[in-house]
């Protein structure tokens, strides 16, 4: 029973997916599954919060170290479930409008959510892989859901091939770690990797062992970083992102760009901090934060610069999602720093939640603007849209302002906390680059607003008008509530995130302290 309670946030979408499968298989007509799927997700989010309130059971021995159910994972579970719920609502509107409403979509999204939750809770390489694959399989299929569209098929294939490649790299990295440590769980790996080099100095053979071990562990780390960079779409492993996002049904794009990203970042931060959180790998100038700093700079810059040149809003959102991955990386880079690290880690969690709701909302507003046969994708499609449809235009405006990082919205605080954490960790140049990038991004986000409010549509062009869908409206309202709520009281939400990571570091101090001892 303890096990069921511990796993309840994950069990809800898993069992729910099976029920949805049965509903889909036995119902007479397609459709109508969006609401149960969304409710399922929101229940899972509520369950995660309830478990948080009740206190995580301290006896986790039934998990045998495969999963870490702590406040960090519960926070991310809630983020994922919230995002998944909004995405299911968006799917309910989008798929029906565009005659794609086949029932398979909903079990798939529930399976992906379960996989994403497993991914952020994984504390063992085996579970990391299983979670990653469970999450990805569903998303691959949802990407290729628009059958008969070569674009969608290409998107799905690209995503599938590169995703599998990334998974293979990660598996290779895990295998190397197992080879040198004999463990697959993070704690065990960290223990062996950072175990007392003191007596090694005395014994030449043992010293060679230590060198070998650290060399292979660095190679393994590179492989894992590359795999995760693929998943979050960081430059230079972002090539698949724009095509996959653009070809995918828009509701899938919303899911991929927020939920999958949040899960991948959650798992990434956990594995890096737990396995490579020691002072030697994370502290020095040659450690992984320094390497990731270059990746972050490239990710932000390339994402923003290419987003500038887009004519399609959907593609612009795809590139901007790359740029946002760069901002989140800033927090990950600052996270292993002694003292300020916890706040940096908390800022990552805060950013992931903030980006999930803002991005879901923005994509939702874009979905709302597209009727059957007239999907609005380009800037020109939206000309004059907000003047004709003030409410729908306002929704789009709110979320784009949040993505830009304009003060009253949550997007501002998300960027602010991440950049502050970067400064606290002493990466001044990095913080500066992030600020400049953020300013650049305003150009293309505000470009949409300019089109919507100040331009007239070209004569004879199809006028974008909002589709009528209760699902999409509810989804946008839910996202808007969070964007405003978190924007009005950001400190409270940051405190929650801080509590989330504080608990994690208190529960598993072994990696950090062992690393501290190992430092020369």
């Amino acid at each position: 029973m303890n096990l069921v309670l511990l796993l309840s946030p994950i069990l809800i979408p898993t069992v729910g997916a099976l029920v949805l499968m049965m509903l889909d298989a036995f119902q007479k007509e397609d459709g109508g599954l969006a609401m149960p799927t969304a409710l399922l997700h929101f229940t899972a989010a509520a369950m995660a919060l309830a478990l948080w309130q009740r206190g995580v059971p301290s006896d986790t021995s039934a998990l045998h170290g495969f999963l870490a159910i702590d406040k960090t994972s519960l926070f991310l579970d809630a983020t994922i479930a919230l995002g998944g719920g909004i995405a299911s609502l968006l799917a309910g509107g989008y798929l029906a409008e565009h005659k794609l409403d086949r029932g398979e979509y909903y079990p798939l999204i529930a399976f992906s959510t379960a996989g994403a939750m497993l991914l952020v809770s994984a504390s063992d390489m085996l579970m990391l892989f299983l979670g990653l694959e469970t999450m990805s399989l569903g998303v691959y299929a949802m990407t290729g859901f628009r059958r008969g569209s070569p674009r969608s098929a290409e998107a799905s294939l690209k995503y599938f091939l590169l995703g599998s490649f990334a998974a293979a790299l990660m598996l290779f990295g895990s295998a190397l770690l197992y080879a040198v440590t004999g463990h697959t769980d993070y704690a065990g790996i960290a223990e062996v990797l950072h175990a007392a080099p003191a007596n090694a100095a005395a014994d030449a053979a043992a010293a060679i062992q230590v060198v070998t071990r650290s060399r292979i562990s660095i190679l393994a780390m590179l492989l894992i970083v590359i795999a995760m960079a693929f998943k979050v779409g960081a430059v230079p492993f972002h090539m698949w992102t724009p095509d996959a996002y653009e070809g995918a049904p828009t509701s899938t794009m919303a899911y991929m760009s927020s939920v999958v990203k949040a899960a991948a970042f959650g798992a990434f931060a956990r594995v890096m901090l737990a396995v490579y959180g020691d002072a030697a790998s994370a502290g020095s100038a040659a450690g992984w934060p320094a390497m990731l700093a270059w990746v972050a700079v490239a990710t932000m810059t390339v994402g923003n610069l290419v987003a500038l040149t887009q004519t399609s809003v959907k593609r612009m959102l795809a590139y901007s999602s790359i740029a946002h991955a760069g901002y989140v990386l800033l927090g990950v880079i600052a996270a292993p720093r002694e003292g300020t690290g916890t706040t940096a880690y908390a800022s990552v969690l805060f950013y992931l939640l903030a980006y999930t709701v803002s991005n879901m909302g923005a994509v939702g507003a874009l979905i709302l603007a597209g009727r059957r046969g007239a999907e609005s994708v380009s800037y020109d499609d939206l000309a004059g849209y907000a003047r004709r449809h003030p409410a729908a235009g306002f929704a789009m405006t709110l979320f784009l302002l949040s993505l830009t990082g304009v003060p009253p919205t949550v997007g501002f605080f998300a960027k602010f906390y991440v950049i502050r954490a970067t400064l606290d960790a002493g990466y001044t140049a990095l913080a500066l680059i992030a600020v400049v990038n953020s300013a650049v991004s305003a150009y293309y986000y505000l470009g949409v607003l300019v089109k919507m409010y100040m331009r007239d549509p070209a004569p004879g062009a199809a006028l974008a008008s909002p589709m009528r869908s209760g699902y999409v409206t509810v989804a946008i309202l839910t996202a808007a509530v969070f964007v405003v709520w978190m924007g009005v009281m950001p400190e409270r939400w940051l405190d929650l995130a801080r509590e989330a990571v504080g608990a994690a570091t208190a529960a598993a101090p072994s990696a950090a302290t062992a690393g501290g001892n190992a430092a020369p």
Binding site: L18, M21, M22, D24, A25, F26
Partner: protein, 127 residues
């Protein structure tokens, strides 16, 4: 390796290797002998691929329907499921109720997948 209590490589797998080697030997020998000893006087008719005596039409490779793919995927998945049953069956007595419950959960999930395919018509050939 603790070899004292374990059969060595030759003892446990030797017969298998021998069968493999023997069958390889027979296959290679027969082909070699056939190509060395057989009389060869090719004519254009003989060079045509044999197709039940009728004239061959179309390409040698035939495009298969995508439905084979789904069947093949199902086969792989249920093959993996079957693999997990072996160790469970061997340990059935020792695992007791816990093992039974574990396997029931596992099988329930995959049975759901089977029912799903069945109801959705993935197992119907004439679609």
């Amino acid at each position: 390796m603790n070899d004292a209590s374990q059969l060595s490589l030759t003892q446990s797998y030797g017969p298998i290797f021998m069968i493999v080697a023997f069958s390889l030997f027979i296959a290679v020998t027969m082909f070699t002998l056939a190509s060395l000893l057989g009389p060869k006087n090719p004519t254009p008719e003989k060079a045509i691929p044999y197709e039940c005596g009728s004239e061959s039409t179309g390409a040698a490779h035939v495009k298969q329907s995508v439905k084979f793919y789904l069947t093949a995927i199902l086969f792989v998945v249920f093959d993996i499921e079957a693999i997990f049953l072996y160790p469970w069956a061997v340990l059935f007595q020792r695992l007791g109720v816990t093992g039974l419950v574990e396997m029931l959960v596992f099988l329930t999930v995959l049975t759901a997948a089977l029912v799903y395919c069945w109801k959705k018509g993935a197992l119907e050939w004439q679609t």
